[in-house]
Symmetry: C2
Subunit: 324 residues, 2 copies
């Protein structure tokens, strides 16, 4: 993705964002600095900052505040990942050891808290109370979604529950990125321009997570060694399984996932994954992602023209085309 055309426009800005992120533990405990640099070096696509930078520039947001917003978004995302990985017991992310694989749970909890504090400080430094409010509301939505998943499991049978989950997990932060960028450009909350920007973010976020969920059935070329069928194994029913369920609700292995909250028999799991792939469910799920992208492109129609406009359109198409 480092050569994606929509990235060239914001390459210099992303370097500024990176420098601001790296400075966030300066003056604090050396181990906090080391943890932050480890997390930043693990990379990631910086897609949330990219979306915010492109939308903000298209709408005329001041450069300096936009850089701060972009850094705040990535810092918030990183903070949630640190606590997520601890909760899931994940040992690798993006091919690098997670913090909790190397540190104690206590140190991992506190590092996540520190990153939340710095994300909130960056959000404050955008000098917009509305941006600050969006940040804190989004954090509550994300955490509420994780609490729901923890207490209720992920073995959904309704698409409403699925949509709620992926909104909380992913789309809420993309929506935050574009709504906050519009705010910095002077758009009043709930004004038509603001709503249009927000809608673009919402839809690419929903599509992004649906595609992630499809990749779990295909093998994700970006995440070498990540096993196929991971979600189902852990009892997480995503869109491909929901689509398959509509047609094959009595599949005994799928029933086992729903009843036991997971399926740890590798042979049965692989056979179920194969049946879901062969059922055409991935294509149906991909169609749902494409509809979100169409809605995002539709929102773009109401925004001003310019190179950032084209880049946002390219980014939207990239979200669904990246691996299939």
């Amino acid at each position: 993705m480092s050569t994606a055309p929509f990235l060239t426009l914001v390459q210099e800005s992303l370097a500024e964002v990176e420098a601001l992120l790296a400075a966030q533990a300066d003056g604090y405990h050396p181990d906090l600095q080391a943890a932050l640099h480890h997390l930043l070096a693990a990379g990631g696509k910086r897609i949330r900052p990219t979306v915010a930078l492109l939308m903000g520039r298209l709408l005329g947001a001041p450069h300096d505040r936009l850089i701060i917003l972009a850094a705040a978004l990535e810092m918030l995302h990183t903070a949630t990942l640190v606590h997520d990985d601890l909760i899931d017991g994940a040992l690798l992310r993006r091919g690098m050891p997670t913090l909790n694989a190397q540190w104690s749970p206590a140190a991992t909890v506190l590092t996540g808290d520190f990153l939340f504090a710095r994300a909130a400080l960056l959000a404050t430094n955008t000098q917009s109370l509305h941006v600050m409010r969006l940040f804190t509301q989004t954090l509550a939505v994300i955490v509420d979604g994780e609490i729901r998943q923890l207490f209720e499991g992920g073995a959904f049978t309704s698409s409403e529950q699925y949509e709620h989950r992926i909104y909380a997990k992913t789309a809420s932060m993309f929506e935050l990125a574009t709504a906050a960028a519009a705010t910095l450009a002077g758009a009043a909350p709930e004004s038509p321009l603001y709503e249009t920007a927000r809608r673009y973010g919402y839809h690419i976020g929903m599509a992004f997570q649906i595609v992630d969920d499809i990749l779990d059935y295909q093998g994700d070329s970006r995440q070498v060694g990540k096993p196929v069928g991971n979600d189902l194994r852990n009892g997480l029913v995503t869109l491909p399984a929901l689509v398959y369920m509509e047609r094959h609700g009595q599949d005994p292995d799928l029933q086992a996932v729903l009843q036991n909250g997971g399926l740890y028999d590798a042979q049965r799991l692989n056979a179920l994954v194969r049946r879901i792939r062969e059922s055409g469910a991935l294509q149906t799920a991909a169609e749902a992602a494409r509809q979100h992208i169409a809605a995002a492109l539709d929102a773009l129609e109401d925004l001003p023209p310019g190179p950032e406009h084209e880049a946002l359109a390219a980014l939207a198409r990239y979200v669904v085309d990246r691996d299939f």
Copy 2:
């Protein structure tokens, strides 16, 4: 403390704060609501909201924003306690089971995160970017202090380290309470009025923690069943031990605490606690707390007169006189 005279002035306001706190999980997952109500029912003295309410009223801050600030402070305090208790593995706080005694670590981490999000949203709702900035900076200071203690232990031998620790742990939030209250009253950051209010909060916070540290050697009548000498057992050197160390640096049991980061032999621990008590170190430490209170009362001299002024003076004296 429910009959302390400085409380009667803010009793009605505290009821408003309580209602606002209780509403913070409305609309979120039922288990989050249950956790919040459990935490609020555990009580606590609400001393941070009380300080903010008294200072804000004395300086003329608008009532509604002051209530929100007071709730934000208590919510931030509660969030840090939830993660603290998880990290320490504490099973009781204020005589009630902690969240982590009943819930999984994952649920406890996420509940703390949710409370941070709600504290930040409340802080945003004060409509002051400076208050928001104070909040996020204070959270970073608190977490940095906990990280330091985790990595470096608490077996200090210098009073600078001790002062840094109790500032991060306690005084920073009292300072936040009074500086934020002054801000809502219209005092510009770093103006003389703002600095005076901040100084009052700083000094009562420092005194508050020193007294807490002394109570660990005396037995705290408010915390039934809390064993004496808990800090030393866990390798935490506080002011009484630092004072004793100046005169009896070669005490072999104290050396054992420093070298091993704790002392788990109950007989040796009790004998060391007794020697520290008999050395007069608690009186010297109490004198240090009284100097902070004198500095707080000195700061009050520069603030307007009125019933809140008298209540703040009474509160300052209460901090050192509460149990000895």
